[in-house]
Symmetry: C2
Subunit: 490 residues, 2 copies
């Protein structure tokens, strides 16, 4: 049916059209059904909303997302027709039924997802299919390839580009700014792009944002890296893997982390950014993966993909049975980082960062890498590099001023133990949730400070301080802390 397009300035999160109840009835289309829209011989799929007072009959209201893929002038006519199961849907069903997908099918699917042609429900079916049937090696390579193909690429024009990635799940554990500073101080090019927190108290991007701008267009990013050899920025607006962002959005509904998606997501972004020396940190024993054996299974898959794409990759397996560092939450983690860079700070965070840096330096053929990493950190050279990166990202020379401005949240509550005890367990997931109750990562100053890790704690010693900008949230968090026991004492 020919309808007159009306551009509504409207973000719906997916390509949506609006019809009046009368037009919808005439077309025999219902709310949430799929339609095809054809304009200038280009076709796109969208779902239907019904709205009575925003447009007239025989008009079609159009969401911003749709205009991104199919530019339609206000007032021009488009063909709208009910759409049946389309290629993406057929491919998802095939995978859901346990069949293997060809490279071409995977590419069609990923391309449809990145063009916003699939509903979230369809993406959920695909995620479920991956969860159950996994992907074999060929599929995994095709998935990674498709995700690279559909996204932007960055060219830094360097022979060796290093990167590191942790699969996450451990509270605190903000090694990235330290590893980047150490390795860049050693002369490596290490353009690190990171995500914001999904289910945790802070992502590297959230933490860096307490000191510096993190959202850059690609050309700006290349300039920063060419100037100081590294960056610590947010990957969100770089569009390295548009389908991945959409799939993660759906996974997030149930806090899922589906393995083939996880591997292809990380590897495609590294490859798109031109990295050819990659260190992967897989914590086990309390984060996303329980046993070392499972961690190694995952690690071998990373190695396989890396080999296919001619990337030198090393996997390190680290113990993740409790948080790393003392502070958890964006500003609290930044304090840990600054302290470590100044020669102080939590031992576990410092030693893990040195060890990861050494592995990455070794991968890039540096001699005596462990010694080198420690020297660069303890001599203050890594700190200088960190300052350079922050100043370059801010286009200013005000690092010290920014550090001074960092402060913790207004309201706090410290728990002190009233007799000698043993800390048996500190649950990463529950600590992250506790921080979210306190307002992190949205509230950068919120979070917790851990005075002790697993082991003995003496009567009168501090256990933890909770920080929040809201008295109400602090009360909720105290209740959560007492009821859900993120720290188990005995």
């Amino acid at each position: 049916m020919k309808l007159k397009a009306k551009n509504l300035r409207w973000l719906a999160g997916r390509p949506v059209i609006i019809l009046t109840p009368e037009t919808a009835k005439e077309m025999n289309i219902h709310v949430n059904e799929r339609v095809g829209i054809v304009h200038n011989k280009k076709k796109i799929y969208a779902v239907v909303d019904i709205f009575s007072n925003l447009i007239k009959d025989n008009e079609v209201g159009i969401s911003e997302e749709l205009l991104t893929f199919l530019p339609i002038k206000n007032g021009s006519y488009v063909d709208v027709f009910p759409a049946d199961l389309f290629s993406g849907g057929r491919i998802i069903k095939k995978k859901l039924m346990g069949e293997r997908l060809s490279e071409e099918e995977i590419h069609t699917l990923i391309s449809e997802i990145s063009h916003n042609n699939l509903t979230e429900a369809e993406i959920a079916f695909f995620v479920s299919a991956e969860q159950f049937h996994g992907m074999d090696k060929k599929e995994l390579i095709a998935l990674t390839k498709s995700m690279i193909k559909t996204g932007n690429k960055i060219n830094f024009n360097k022979k060796i580009i290093a990167d590191k990635h942790c699969i996450g799940g451990i509270a605190g554990n903000r090694t990235t700014p330290l590893v980047v500073s150490i390795c860049a101080a050693a002369g490596l090019t290490i353009p690190k792009t990171s995500s914001r927190a999904i289910t945790s108290a802070a992502g590297t991007a959230d933490t860096m944002e307490t000191l510096t701008r993190v959202d850059f267009p690609q050309d700006k990013l290349v300039k920063i890296v060419n100037k100081v050899g590294a960056c610590l920025v947010w990957n969100g607006s770089l569009n390295l893997s548009p389908s991945d962002d959409k799939i993660i959005h759906v996974e997030r509904l149930l806090n899922l982390d589906v393995e083939p998606q996880l591997i292809a997501s990380i590897m495609s972004k590294k490859i798109a950014a031109g990295s050819n020396r990659v260190l992967i940190d897989i914590p086990y024993g309390g984060g996303k993966i329980n046993s070392l054996e499972k961690a190694k299974e995952l690690g071998r898959k990373f190695e396989f993909v890396a080999k296919k794409f001619k990337i030198r990759l090393k996997v390190v397996y680290t113990l993740g049975n409790q948080p790393i560092g003392d502070g958890i939450g964006p500003v609290l983690e930044m304090f840990d980082i600054i302290n470590v860079l100044r020669g102080d700070g939590p031992e576990d965070l410092k030693e893990k960062s040195i060890s990861l840096s050494a592995s990455l330096l070794a991968l890039c053929d540096y001699k005596t890498p462990k010694k080198l990493a420690r020297e660069l950190l303890e001599s203050g050279k890594a700190y200088e590099k960190f300052k350079e990166i922050v100043n370059a990202q801010n286009e200013a020379n005000d690092f010290e001023k920014r550090i001074e401005k960092l402060k913790l949240a207004k309201f706090s509550k410290t728990f002190i133990v009233n007799k000698d005890k043993i800390i048996r367990k500190i649950d990463n997931k529950k600590i992250n949730l506790l921080c979210r109750v306190l307002g992190a990562p949205q509230t950068k100053t919120a979070g917790v400070f851990l005075y002790k890790k697993i082991g003995r704690i003496t009567k009168g010693e501090k256990l933890i301080t909770l920080y929040s900008e809201s008295e109400y949230k602090l009360r909720d968090a105290i209740k959560y802390f007492q009821e859900f026991e993120p720290i188990v004492l005995k």
Copy 2:
């Protein structure tokens, strides 16, 4: 955050709120994220759309679906806050990971679905989980119970209420109006509610609609059944199982038919309508189920559920290797029905209807049921009953006039074989798709007429006629018929 509610007359298919970009930013909420809305101590979940010119900052635009569950006066203030994983999500994840659900968990989930608190993506995860892990007997009973509990019930105030159901997949196969007419003529109370076509050329409701109104409120329905002992109506507006309608909507995205959902859907609707004698027709060998063995596996599950709910149920297994009846499409199927009722019409449809009627009569303790069914059909008594039902539903006495008005689509194309051949296969799915290309079920007069079934066909004999109201669609259908071979000749 406290926001001023603005009721927009807006059907979004799920509870959605609209925020301005500024308000969303302040709340740190993104498009498609979930929020909780609290008003008068009642809470509901919704997802977020962002729209700049429909509401002001600090206002929240509200969709019709949300108002159904949480009445909010225009201009009153509501609390809106970001929502994390909620109970429904946790339960779905548990099932997705392969754990069994308790009765309480299933009830929470079904209740949240029926209250529109879950997004389609979350329902898709649940459907996938059922597809992979199935449901054990306890879960299946809990699912059926919850679906009954969350929907309306009908009370016909009769001791014996009969019903029949076919799990579908066979083109044509419009036995329901015949079985209902025969059994009601025998004196049974048989209040048959049916769906519209989902993936087929016509549902019973679509076919009945060629002659009569099919959409009734519950009180009206009870009146009709009390008057003529039966009805042939649409189940859509009766709200017997609101969660089921939503789940089916999501299944439809990939044309899925997940087994536990299928069983609970059928059984919950029968039980909600008070039926206590139920005949289930499971075709095998070419519809939804390939082998008799698989059909029997499914049948045993129906028997198990029926026993738990103290329903007398019989399963019949019928051969479904090709369409039943000559016409496929709403009006074409109605012609077959009228012809059979008048003592003529396709033999396969007639004999299957007699056989199903006999099984249902036997289940209701009638003696010599097969003989009785045949007599009622061949004597014209079933035809009289059918007229009564149609006239009662139309509140008129114009059956004959309505029959006269029935006509087929304007454009047609008949295929004639040009030499002696054998019809090897008639594919149900492809025949249904062919009818959809021709415009059925939206266009009631569209569809196909099959002159022959599997077996010999002689040079010069007609094979099939395609009917459409659109020349364009007819052209498409001819192409489909030639390329996809719904009928395989040799």
